[in-house]
Symmetry: C2
Subunit: 202 residues, 2 copies
């Protein structure tokens, strides 16, 4: 039991690293198993297809990322300070990836959204749900900020949350392209602007 779940974890970890490095389409099951150091035969014991594996990689990555987001957004400080904590954590994730692999790997969900949206309907649907969940988490804090008078009274909380998520994705794209996590430095300034909270300093 210990050994079989080890093999599953090794496959998942290898798949995640390879998908981050090279995308999904260019990968084969044989290469994933070789990188994981498990026999190819065991792959289909755990996953019925490469797409089933990808969905599991996505779900596990979101479970871990969601916990980080909640730690920031439900943590100490006023709503805007918690948003800033989220951006700092996001930049640190990209810095850590760069220290480990030499390159900014970007956002797994953003990478797969652009690669697969028009090819794999089940993956598209799952990614849509994850981005909506991210927007939900941000919107909660934006609503709090608005109620506390920290965001402009005219702000559409849903659209502002959506814009902040879009800005994160766009900035992560630039960080990956430039291999420079400091491209994320301005997320805070951008968000204050989009929340019409320009006079606040944190």
């Amino acid at each position: 039991m210990g050994r079989t779940s080890d093999a599953r974890d090794k496959i998942l970890e290898a798949a995640k690293v390879l998908i981050e490095q090279r995308g999904y389409s260019a990968l084969g099951v044989a290469e994933i198993c070789a990188t994981a150091g498990v026999p190819k035969g065991s792959f289909y014991y755990f996953f019925e297809s490469k797409q089933a594996l990808a969905l599991t990689v996505i779900d596990e990555h979101w479970a871990a990322q969601r916990a980080q987001w909640l730690a920031a957004l439900d943590g100490p400080g006023d709503p805007l300070r918690r948003l800033r904590t989220l951006f700092e954590a996001t930049e640190e994730v990209q810095r850590a990836g760069q220290r480990r692999s030499g390159v900014v790997v970007g956002c797994l969900f953003g990478n797969l959204a652009l690669e697969l949206s028009n090819q794999a309907e089940e993956i598209r649907t799952r990614l849509q749900e994850i981005f909506e969940a991210q927007i939900d988490l941000i919107e909660r804090v934006v609503v709090e900020a608005k109620e506390a008078g920290l965001a402009g009274a005219g702000v559409d909380t849903r659209e502002a949350a959506r814009s902040i998520v879009a800005q994160i994705e766009g900035r992560v794209l630039l960080a990956k392209l430039l291999n420079d996590p400091t491209a994320l430095d301005t997320l805070w300034r951008n968000s204050l602007d989009m929340l019409q909270a320009t006079q606040v300093t944190h």
Copy 2:
């Protein structure tokens, strides 16, 4: 001469459509030639490699897009109105792609930036140059807006231009994921916020 340049154009058009649909890594030269309806032997008469073809696709797409950007940003109206014209043109490009193919294809440069930044240094460099050129074009208009008192006096024009380009990429990602070009509707509102020009209505 007419026939050979026809073949080159057919290869370029097929490559662009296939890269937009499925990305670069999953494509082979044989498939590109089959889609273009040209013999595989002629491919290497025009392009020394698949990467050389991709760079040509990128350059030709940017030449066409740059002309559209200039038409909007050097067109009639005050600086903010011209920025709005650019966003409207960007949304129309995605709507036209959706009418043609059934799906929002997204931004060729953003797609390739996420797919290839960490795999193909020459493509990364070219895409960096294109994004810097886009930021230059937007910044010119932001500077004009600031000089005319239409943007906040405290706005960092370079960072604001970079944020607007990031917002375009992030919103195009959502538009592709949702197969819904209206995800681009808020670019105008976002930009007014990031330029601290919230009181302006256009």
